[in-house]
Symmetry: D3
Subunit: 128 residues, 6 copies
Amino acid sequence: MTTTRYDIGLSKLAEIDGNAGQNVIESLQSICPDLARYTIEFPFGDIYQRPQLDLKSREIGTVAALTAIGHCAPQLNVHINGALNVGCSPEEIIEIILQMAVYAGFPAALNGMFVAKDVFIERGLIKA
Amino acid sequence: MTTTRYDIGLSKLAEIDGNAGQNVIESLQSICPDLARYTIEFPFGDIYQRPQLDLKSREIGTVAALTAIGHCAPQLNVHINGALNVGCSPEEIIEIILQMAVYAGFPAALNGMFVAKDVFIERGLIKA
Amino acid sequence: MTTTRYDIGLSKLAEIDGNAGQNVIESLQSICPDLARYTIEFPFGDIYQRPQLDLKSREIGTVAALTAIGHCAPQLNVHINGALNVGCSPEEIIEIILQMAVYAGFPAALNGMFVAKDVFIERGLIKA
Amino acid sequence: MTTTRYDIGLSKLAEIDGNAGQNVIESLQSICPDLARYTIEFPFGDIYQRPQLDLKSREIGTVAALTAIGHCAPQLNVHINGALNVGCSPEEIIEIILQMAVYAGFPAALNGMFVAKDVFIERGLIKA
Amino acid sequence: MTTTRYDIGLSKLAEIDGNAGQNVIESLQSICPDLARYTIEFPFGDIYQRPQLDLKSREIGTVAALTAIGHCAPQLNVHINGALNVGCSPEEIIEIILQMAVYAGFPAALNGMFVAKDVFIERGLIKA
Amino acid sequence: MTTTRYDIGLSKLAEIDGNAGQNVIESLQSICPDLARYTIEFPFGDIYQRPQLDLKSREIGTVAALTAIGHCAPQLNVHINGALNVGCSPEEIIEIILQMAVYAGFPAALNGMFVAKDVFIERGLIKA
């Protein structure tokens, strides 16, 4: 019996994104289940499981990139949760979003920060 | 006597980017020295000196964001050097650029990787 | 009597986008009717009516581009409808959006796929 | 007693964005008050107060850029208000958004125009 | 005899961009002369000739947008020349590029500023 | 004996991109051979080999997306070659790049067209 990329990816996805990742996968079933499968296999089964970089650093990089790209609010929400799940502190997450004001401009940083605010409120880390 | 944002920024810039950062500053003198000053004061004097996130994590986030944004090859070159200067290993830098294939697509990751290749060759970390 | 670019464009717009295109045109009347006129004249009166590429291929390219650009959900909705109207199958549309995971990253592909899901539900092609 | 960048920025922010800018600042207090402070100090305390370009031209440039970037609807709303506040006519604002069809494509221009429509309705400049 | 959009556009293009615009048009002849024609007709024959906004403000907006978009160095070069041709001062052009640090990040502003430096050196406004 | 995703991808890559794709793969060997492997496995071994969309349509979509994204000239060069290799006519490729003026603006379309010009000259389809 072999452990497949799908198995590794599913386990890694649960470790990082918990239910949020699972919800994305489920919402794809009626339209393109193969995109769900590829999302598990490539990002999580191939990339995130590699030992060359710790999960905290991976999530710092992902939160930075999604904030900078700017049109990925749903994925940024998932990965701010993921960053918290793998051990980033709220202060570290706020800090890397703030830093994006330098590289992607203040609007991108502001929009990213408001996604973090939503996540932190939902998790009871700050008051609404 | 007070230490100004400019002084703090200049010191932080030297710590992270070394000569590469200094070259950018000098090349602005004939066209817009104020942009050089703001580049020292805001990114380096305000943001990078904050204690909430270590410099290694800051550079991981910056390399991720610049790879994802895609039209910032000169700045990515500077910050891959910066990442090495503050203690990121070549493997960690390669890894965060690779990860951007997931979030910004393969072309952005490929173009970022070729910038890293240039830097690593220049620093003698790999052969041409 | 001559057929103007406006006439050609209006006819081409109706052929491709049906009511969805017409709604965009109408919603511009109180703010900038000239943008409505240019939208009819240039994209539809000049470009889409050219014989060098069939309408199915044009819509494949437009769905790909709008998915990749990422901040154009309303226009992507209109053109997924347009692609169906000119003969693309649902499977072909899903497939070109999926392919954008390679070029623009998984978040862009996921967000594009959820726009397709909305359109397909609205047209009764899949269940909610 | 010295006038600080913060004081200058707060005054400039009030002149340009009025309550809209103030609301953004307040909404950051629970998540990252430092981003609010930097937003006042750098864009408004450093940049907008410089005498080299009049405020009308600054807002024309900002509305153009935010329309072109495309994922900054909240900031575009604030700066369309700002453009009106510093003396741009509704026609001039519509015109620069329209011009972005050339540089960023019709979807970006359309999405920007609909933000302008919201602002103009809210200010009673056009009917809903 | 009627003045066509093409005639109006060609005249407007010459007024704004001089030879730089003409070179772009000529370089398209072997690959897609229709793109040259549309570039004359829509941006210059339709948009830039409209009376609702003066040419200086149009070029301020275009320089801002092209700096922010970031992957348009050749067009930014043409329009920095265009801005000078229609009466913007070098200081005003520098200033609007500088302002883009706020909205599109420091890398975009730096890259835009180096394009301006090239143009200003070529026109003898600053020394190499 | 099983045919792996890598085998399928390598064969598909050769079919579409010929030597151009192979050169990209080789240039990654000294810096990140895993990115070369993933580029073969995911885009070509997973996506391009799927039967839901013909290769001509896939390349139309890719050329459209890479033109619109704008900072991917090397990859656009490879895929304009790829489009020709799988049966797109030069006219169809020119046409989809032209169409991007509508969705991503004239600068993106112009820059994409000049990449096509380079490819067509190199392949002897037009004169320099």
